[in-house]
């Protein structure tokens, strides 16, 4: 089992006002799954992803990742968990400006304990997402679709246990979006666990399972019988 969540709650305090965002969620995700977390804006799906991705802490409840209780880890332990076990792909790419494609992909490795052959590993990953010819380009010189592929390469470079994709197609045209979904599906086919956060049913249906969140509660958790297949691209070999 990759992750197991038990009665997970999250509330935010703004002065005296307490806003409850997650009302006790319980579910588990196995290794190799492709799960969509779906829900309208304000449903708490992003908050859930942040907690699962160890960017934020739950207010109460339990969260076990690869059998390890996450809620008791300190900041530094969370940082190295994010570094070694988790890859993020964001809607707005979040690439470093004025930095080359290659250096962006190398970034997680510079914070990693394993610093061997950083450039070689980064190049190999970039080639696998079809950007071997863009290594020395700066991030402002490439298209949106390419940016998101750089972000995927960065998420993959440290060989994580799970990849979180937060609205990865939200800032892309439909053609680039399909290419990105194709890459994610192929990654899943080769054994990677993918957790996709989206508010669109269309995008969510690329996954094999959908967890629907509404008002901080799980509304539905079902497999997708006929999940959508991205067009065959040449992106991943």
């Amino acid at each position: 089992m990759l992750m197991k969540v038990d009665n997970l709650k999250k509330e935010f305090k703004t002065g005296e006002v307490v806003t409850k965002v997650l009302h006790g969620l319980s579910f588990s995700i196995e290794e190799g799954e492709f799960v969509s977390i779906m829900g309208p804006s304000g449903s708490g799906k992003s908050t859930l992803m942040h907690i699962l991705g160890m960017l934020d802490r739950a207010s109460s409840g339990h969260y076990a990742f690869l059998g390890r209780e996450v809620t008791t880890l300190n900041d530094n332990e969370l940082a190295s968990m994010r570094n070694e076990k988790i890859g993020f792909v964001f809607q707005s790419f979040n690439l470093l400006p004025r930095t080359t494609v290659l250096d962006n992909v190398k970034l997680p490795l510079t914070y990693s304990k394993n610093k061997k052959e950083i450039s070689k590993r980064a190049k190999k990953i970039l080639e696998s997402v079809g950007l071997g010819h863009r290594l020395r380009y700066y991030t402002n010189q490439i298209s949106g679709g390419e940016k998101q592929r750089v972000a995927i390469a960065r998420a993959l470079v440290n060989n994580p246990s799970v990849i979180f994709a937060d609205e990865p197609t939200g800032n892309l045209d439909s053609k680039s979006g399909i290419q990105i979904m194709d890459i994610l599906q192929k990654l899943n086919d080769s054994g990677n666990t993918i957790i996709l956060v989206t508010h669109e049913t269309f995008t969510a249906e690329y996954a094999k399972r959908i967890i629907k969140i509404k008002d901080g509660r799980i509304e539905e958790d079902e497999p997708v019988l006929n999940h959508r297949q991205a067009l065959d691209g040449d992106m991943l070999k």
């Binding site: 994010r82 070694e84 993020f88 979040n94 470093l96 004025r98 990693s112």
Partner: protein
């Protein structure tokens, strides 16, 4: 180490993005460091100038002044207090062969100021009543005429030897020797003119008139004490012995039984000690001025802190992303600390460069103006200046860097 190099690269890149802003930020540090370097260099140059001048007077000279003083402090006589304990007879006693055998020659002084006139020309100058041993002890050359003799010294003769400036003022280019002048209404005959010697250790050698000591005391000043005796010792290594002999002789002469020196009514100083006193005074001045200049570094440091706080908030999303891919608080803190240290270090290096150039130009101008001015920028002051500016980067970068490191990753990623 690899991480450190990486952090420096990131820092340099960040600085180059905002070239104008980085330069302005650095300017405070550049000015501060340059000011410290220049002041230290000018101080050292002026110090060496004074010291070399004093040394040129001869390091085997010993000064005997009236009044007591501690070993460190200034003799009372140097601070303008009149003490009458030193007499002409004391000098004669010192020159008695058996008393202080290492003394080669000595000169006694009674100084004053007065108006010297020739016809309608008059000039205010320094009057130096001296004994005939002056030339032998203090050096100096005549360009015409002669110096007065021991006999003339004893029988109150009215011969005067003019300093170069005085001669120029009263006689211009015409011959002075043999002419009559008046000093405070008394008539004197010019018997010699000194060669130009310039200002040494704040004393203008050319702006004075030499007359025999006894004449000065009886006729002009109306006193019978000496302001100073200067003695020339045969060899520098005998100065210690000579000083002890001088002290013993004067104690006997003044009926002082205490040999500890507590009751002494005179002070004996070697040129070396005088150099030490001058060095102490000029050092204090130099470091005080440098400390003033260093204050501007503090102001520069506050500028650094300000701009680093701006940088942290500008790059909040970057911080969030770095944390998302695994940077811990320490990594983020180091990144911003290294950035602020890089700013101040580079600023410090530029400052040192500016300081050296300015100091060099000052030395060049001083030399052009005829001063024997040494261009001195010590390695320690460079290391110190760069070290201090890097330290300022560390101190003033700490708060912004800490602030950056404590950002919550989610908050930082959400920041617009």
């Amino acid at each position: 180490m690899q991480y450190f190099i990486q952090a420096v690269k990131i820092a340099v890149k960040a600085l180059l993005v905002n070239k104008g802003r980085s330069f302005l930020t650095m300017l405070g540090i550049i000015i501060g460091v340059a000011a410290v370097i220049v002041i230290m260099a000018v101080g050292a140059g002026a110090q060496s100038l004074i010291l070399s001048q004093v040394e040129s007077l001869g390091t085997n000279l010993v000064g005997i002044m009236p009044g007591s003083s501690g070993d460190e402090g200034l003799p009372a006589a140097m601070m303008g207090i009149v003490i009458t304990t030193l007499k002409y007879e004391d000098m004669l006693e010192l020159l008695e062969g058996g008393n202080a055998p290492n003394i080669v020659s000595a000169v006694g002084y009674t100084k004053g100021v007065g108006t010297v006139s020739r016809g309608s020309e008059s000039y205010d100058t320094n009057l130096s009543g001296i004994t005939h041993g002056y030339m032998e002890t203090e050096g100096g050359e005549l360009i015409s005429g002669r110096f007065f003799t021991e006999e003339e010294e004893r029988n109150l003769s009215r011969g005067a030897v003019l300093g170069y400036t005085v001669k120029e003022e009263l006689f211009g280019d015409s011959e002075a020797v043999g002419k009559k002048i008046k000093i405070k209404k008394h008539s004197f005959e010019v018997i010699g003119v000194m060669a130009e010697r310039g200002t040494v250790a704040m004393q203008d050698y050319d702006d004075q008139v030499f007359i025999p000591l006894r004449t000065m005391q009886k006729l002009i000043a109306g006193v019978n004490h000496l302001g100073l005796i200067r003695a020339k010792i045969d060899d520098e290594k005998n100065i210690g012995i000579a000083i002890n002999d001088i002290k013993a002789t004067l104690r006997q002469q003044h009926n002082i039984e205490d040999t500890s020196g507590d009751d002494d009514d005179f002070t004996v100083r070697s040129a070396a000690e005088a150099l030490d006193v001058i060095t102490t005074i000029t050092d204090a001045l130099k470091y005080f001025l440098a400390a003033m200049a260093a204050l501007s570094l503090l102001v520069g440091g506050i500028g650094i802190m300000n701009i680093m706080l701006v940088a942290v908030s500008e790059r909040t999303r970057e911080i969030g992303l770095r944390k998302a891919v695994g940077a811990n608080n320490y990594n983020i803190m180091m990144q911003f600390l290294i950035e602020s240290i890089t700013v101040t270090f580079v600023g410090g290096a530029f400052g040192v460069l500016c300081g050296i150039v300015i100091s060099y130009l000052i030395a060049l101008v001083a030399n052009y103006l005829g001063y024997d001015w040494a261009f001195i920028v010590s390695f320690t002051s460079i290391i110190l200046a760069i070290g201090v500016s890097a330290f300022i980067g560390l101190v003033f970068g700490l708060f912004p860097a800490r602030k950056a490191s404590r950002l919550e990753p989610v908050e930082a990623l959400r920041y617009e």
